[in-house]
């Protein structure tokens, strides 16, 4: 069966998570999902210099010292195509903590990428 355009776009898209956590925190977070359940997104640490990349994307909140929840779509040529600032939808994860409902939160972005 021919894959849908959305499936194609998903395969042609890399999702990267960025937070101002240390790599150790991210390692503990990944482990919290258990040996067989890696977190579905690669998580990157913007810890030192603190929030450096987040600041370059103008998404650093100086009052909380963290990123603002937001998504950025970058095309294959390295240009920004969309910036979304919003509350993510979360679900209860297998680790007992709230986790971002990834499929739900990137659905609209994948549709957007279809049309690029």
């Amino acid at each position: 069966m021919r894959e849908s355009q959305a499936q194609f776009s998903r395969r042609e898209t890399q999702v990267l998570g960025i937070s101002c956590d240390s790599t150790s925190t991210l390692a503990a977070y990944n482990l919290s999902f258990g040996p067989s359940l890696a977190y579905p997104v690669k998580l990157l640490s913007d810890f030192y210099p603190h929030g450096d990349v987040t600041k370059k994307y103008k998404l650093f909140n100086i009052e909380t010292g963290t990123a603002d929840r937001s998504s950025v779509v970058i095309d294959k040529n390295g240009y920004i195509r969309k910036v979304n600032k919003y509350q993510y939808r979360s679900v209860l994860g297998p680790n007992g903590y709230g986790v971002v409902d990834l499929d739900f939160n990137i659905k609209d972005l994948i549709i957007f990428i279809n049309d690029l």
Partner: protein, 45 residues
């Protein structure tokens, strides 16, 4: 002031949870990239 569509995405290299470097440049020319900025691990995102 936010970055806007059409702006060049700032390049970066960051470490993942295994302290392995990941660069935006690795994906250019190959894949679209969605960056999801999270507040903290162990929170709702």
């Amino acid at each position: 002031m936010s970055l806007l569509p059409g702006d060049k995405a700032p390049l970066f290299t960051l470490m993942d949870h295994n302290r392995k470097s990941v660069s935006l440049e690795n994906f250019l020319g190959k894949k679209n990239v969605i960056l999801m900025f999270f507040v903290f691990a162990f929170t709702d995102g």
